[in-house]
Amino acid sequence: MIWRVEVRDKKGVFDALGESVKKDILDLGISSVSKVEVSQVYLLDGQISELQVVKICQELLVDQIVQDYYHTPQQTLLIAPAQPNLRIVEIAYNPGVMDPVEESTLKGIRDLGIETVSSIRTSKKYLIYGKLSDQEFNMVVDKILSNKLIQHVVDHENLSGKKRAQDTETDAQKNAPLKIVLVNITKASDKELLSLSQQGQLFLNLEEMKAIQKYFKKEGRDPTDCELETIAQTWSEHCCHKTFRGDIRYHTYEKGKKRSKKISNLLKSTIIKATKEINKSWCVSVFHDNAGVIKFDDDSNVCFKVETHNHPSALEPFGGANTGIGGVIRDTLGTGLGAKPICNTDIFCFGRPEVDFQDLPAGTLHPGRVMKGVISGVRDYGNKMGIPTANGAIVFDSGFIGNPLVFCGNVGLIPKDKVNKTVHKGDWIMVVGGRTGRDGIHGATFSSGELTDESEVISCAAVQIGNPIQEKKVTDALMKARDQGLYSAITDCGAGGLSSAVGEMGQDLGCRVDLEKVPVKYQGLNYHEIWISESQERMVLAVHPDSCAKLLEVFASENVEATVIGEFTDTKRLELFYEGCQVGNIAMEFLHHGIPKITKEAVFAAPKLKAPRVVCPRNLTEKLLEVLSHYNVCSKEWVIRQYDHEVQGSSVLKPLVGVHGDAPSDAAVLRPKLNLSKGIAVSNGINIRFGMIDPFWMAASCIDEAIRQIIVVGGNLDQIAILDNFCWGNPDKPDRLGRLVRAAQGCYQTAVGYQVPFISGKDSLYNEYTLKQSGNGKHKKKNRKGSQSLAIPGTLLISAIGIIEDIHRVVSMDFKRPGNSIYILGETFDELGGSIYLDTYGLLGNTVAQVDTKSGTKIFRQLSEAIQKGLIASAHDCSEGGLAVTLAEMAWGGDLGITVLLDKVPYRVRRDGAVSEKASKRNDTILFSESNSRFVVEVPPEAKQEFEKILKGAACAEIGRVEESPEFIIYGLNEEICINAYIGDLKEAWKKTLAFA
């Protein structure tokens, strides 16, 4: 029998959740709601007495200080008669969607000595008071309370007495005999091959389908569904990066002349090539494990990986981001023999939150909702795992409306003798952690295609919710087992599930798996679902049979399930069985190397952009306020404070610093071992608007930004490593691919120029949103085929990690003392192209910031030396918003004023710049140009002499002084004041944009 329990806040208790829902409704533009009440609903199924239900309520489900409850058998639930001005709606998870509360609630009930509750479902009931039209009510349900991919509105009238759909299906399937499905491919025509790929959501092209056909013709049989899925997953863009590793014919146009060249393996000829040439001895493992590994100290290494989870986050922001962070943490756990996760970094790209619902393309979620969902998803997983989220960034641009980008990164600490793994013949294959369900099927192939407005219908199984506590348990158990040397290899179950993890571990030897041994969440999964399911929180281990008992004991002590599912062989084949029947048998060679090499076309022509025409205002105070409140400059405190950035006690420089803890820091600095003075610095560089002008200089600028943020806190150019993450549109379209090639070339040249190696990277392509059906928005501009494709702006994220020798020497960015001198390091150029300043005029410009690694290197080294000698009181890099924003942030960070003279700032035009120095040297250019390799530093009077000695010959100048009075005064080139503001007003402008409170 099913008991229903509803728990709600007592009268008079402040209903925080209800209030926050009410605010969200108001944000939709519906102001007629006076109150929202929320009840938590539990459905307890099992042989339990009413007395037991009451005990469960009073001792477990209800906090009687602040909550009331109501219980009733579900069958006798009275459906309240409709009342005017009150809407009641109940939202529950769809069958098959993991609800983490179920498992822990069952445990809580068993702890009370009640063993007869067999299952629990939860839901939320909302009482919305106020006058709402049906349309408004539906909007509230769809846009705020639920996501139909994972949730549904409970229909009480049709529910009572009926079994849930999934249970019925389960019963039917439980008794069905095993049926092996063969896919007729050997005799298929080209047209049939393509339709097979489409219908099966394989996302394989004709050439690839033909290679598969050829292989199975040779084998003399048709493949099983399971084999075909395994190949599709292994060959997916997501898993094997065929664009980056394939051939490209690259055509460029310069001054009307076309040049063509062939690029064989873009990755090896740019990113990896740079690392090889730079050849740093402290690079321990690059580009082959789940994360890149560098030396930390004599005992340990650190590893770093950044992943994206864009497609799932577009459809279900909370779940997408949640499982994104969960996935990248497993990359750390699966590096070497397992690293301990010590830091998260999260970078997001969203559409601008002020966009109207009417202007959204059909099938897309509102950027405000995407943002809130993604941030909650990261908060939930990161905080519950106990990993500090210490660094991040958010970029807003209308180009991300159909395709938000979610980059999740994780840093791990690993003993240096645990970096290598080897799979041996005869090792058992063990799966540990969560159980396998029907969730996430087709995730790898799904993320290798474009999104359409039908994606939310056909790809719903690819969306999941994570269970961070499960992953925390797995982590705790793994660290123990690792230190006892109980397994010989490990990898994570990510995209492609067991298929990918086991297939990869066994690629040199071969393996055999008995699929019925895999623990499942519910009966009724067929063999191929078990094999490709992407259920979260699972890892695969290779375990010597002698260690198995001890290993199981360790996992049991942390209440984590661990199961032997097969063994590694020496057949060089992937052999799959289900209850004794063979359901797969593929040569590893074909699986991992049989993919036909593709040649793609790429074209790059520099866009023809006009020089902007802006008259420099005499007074730039208003402009500075506008730049400070720009979405891509403004305070992200609302987000940062929701993340636990201090757990593990390791934080040395937090994301927010200064007297009032509200000024933005550069790189985050952490101390992974609390008893040592050695630390790491983590930063990122991202700038999409530069890429709209030239992807080459975007790449160079991102690298420069990531590096200089580490230098400025006290890092050293000789101990910095970087990661690349490309998120791009469809690479089958030559213009998209051309820009990608150009960006990769920028990466190569700049990394080599700075001698900073790449250690890991990832790409996410096909970030386009295709409207197939008729949309209803203004965006609908159909092309000839009747569909319209929205590509994201080509986006490169560079993440950097640096070793800090002595954390006691780090420098923060807040001004420290009145009377200290302010210097600028590095030259300012006429580089307003892609700047925030021009964006406030709605302009892009054309003179994008370039990078001169030779002069950059010199400045980086000089600044490092000055910091190590203790000559610098504060230092901050110049990035979005230029010099003006840097000075403003430093000023309110220290609660101090400044006087600065612009005519002291070293300024030059680039040789290929279109404008003369005389014409371009203006107050606004100097204040807002976003030239690279620049810093503002504060030097106390007693240190000036030594500081200037170190900086001798560099582009460096004293430009002003820190003042006691909280006034921000800048004298322009003509020696008239061009900015005059109170720092409090500047800070207010910076804070208000995203102050969601």
Binding site: V66, D476, Q642, G661
Partner: protein
């Protein structure tokens, strides 16, 4: 002076501030073990062997249902005798953040009638008024008449971070609040930097009378929402780069030192 102060740091699924709490105790010369609750229940470890029980921060069992609730029940139903004995022997308990939520929801705090068979709860820590998790630094005023042994000698307001979504202190009623005050069980209140009563964000969650931490009648069982182990070292301070003081330790170290010294002196 005995140097062998032994601390059990309680762990379960979702505990996550155990390592830094262990570091704090060990750095000051105590010995600390991470002890999974399962090992206590199965008698593989014994509370008798320890002087201090620390329940660290985290999200025990995901904080599903309500923060700390499931572990609170587990402690009450499986270990209450051992815990009662532990306190009666004059030993110490500290619950930080999730640990405080667990002490409150099991009835170990305020501890007036802690009883495994008759469940009663006098106080709770519930959803922040802001309805969101927040990590921020706050000032704490030490209640002048507090009987807590963990906080002796703290006079000036101290500066610690909070990081929680459910930290709003709510007593069952006014009587409970009066009783806490009259028995000198209120230990810390959120305050302005100069020590005055305050509101959001200095009171980060809407706690009744700004209460951030309380103790039991003996003063030996102490629960607080802020994290002393996260301001144990000076370099954890959000603007330590501005400070003249170059001491190794931060404000939170006093609390751990008090606990260890109490055991050394009294046991």
């Amino acid at each position: 002076m005995s140097t062998d102060v032994k601390v059990a740091i309680l762990r379960t699924a979702g505990t996550n501030c155990d390592q830094e709490t262990k570091f704090a105790f060990e750095d000051l010369g105590a010995r600390a073990d991470l002890v999974h609750i399962k090992q206590l229940i199965l008698n593989k470890y014994n509370l008798e062997d320890y002087h201090i029980l620390a329940i660290p921060g985290g999200f025990s069992y995901g904080d599903d249902i309500a923060s700390g609730k499931i572990l609170a029940n587990e402690l009450r139903l499986s270990l209450s005798d051992a815990i009662k004995r532990f306190v009666e022997q004059g030993k110490l308990i500290i619950g930080i953040c999730n640990g405080f939520q667990i002490l409150a929801k099991s009835g170990i705090l305020p501890g007036w009638d802690f009883n495994p068979h008759h469940f009663s709860q006098d106080i709770t820590l519930t959803t922040n008024d802001s309805c969101k998790f927040e990590d921020r630094w706050i000032h704490l005023e030490h209640a002048p008449n507090s009987s807590c042994v963990w906080t002796r000698g703290i006079v000036q307001p101290i500066f610690l971070p909070v990081a929680h979504g459910e930290g709003k202190f709510v007593p069952r009623d006014q009587d409970v609040l009066n009783k806490l005050k009259s028995k000198n069980q209120v230990v810390f209140r959120y305050c302005s930097p100069s020590g005055l009563p305050t509101r959001y964000p200095e009171n980060p969650n809407g706690s009744s009378e700004d209460i951030a931490g309380i103790c039991d009648e003996t003063g030996r069982v102490f629960g607080l929402m802020p994290h002393p182990e996260r301001h144990f070292l000076l370099t954890q301070h959000p603007f330590w780069t501005r400070l003249k003081k170059k001491d190794r330790y931060g404000d939170g170290a006093k609390i751990f030192r008090n606990g260890i010294n109490y055991i050394r002196k009294n046991l």
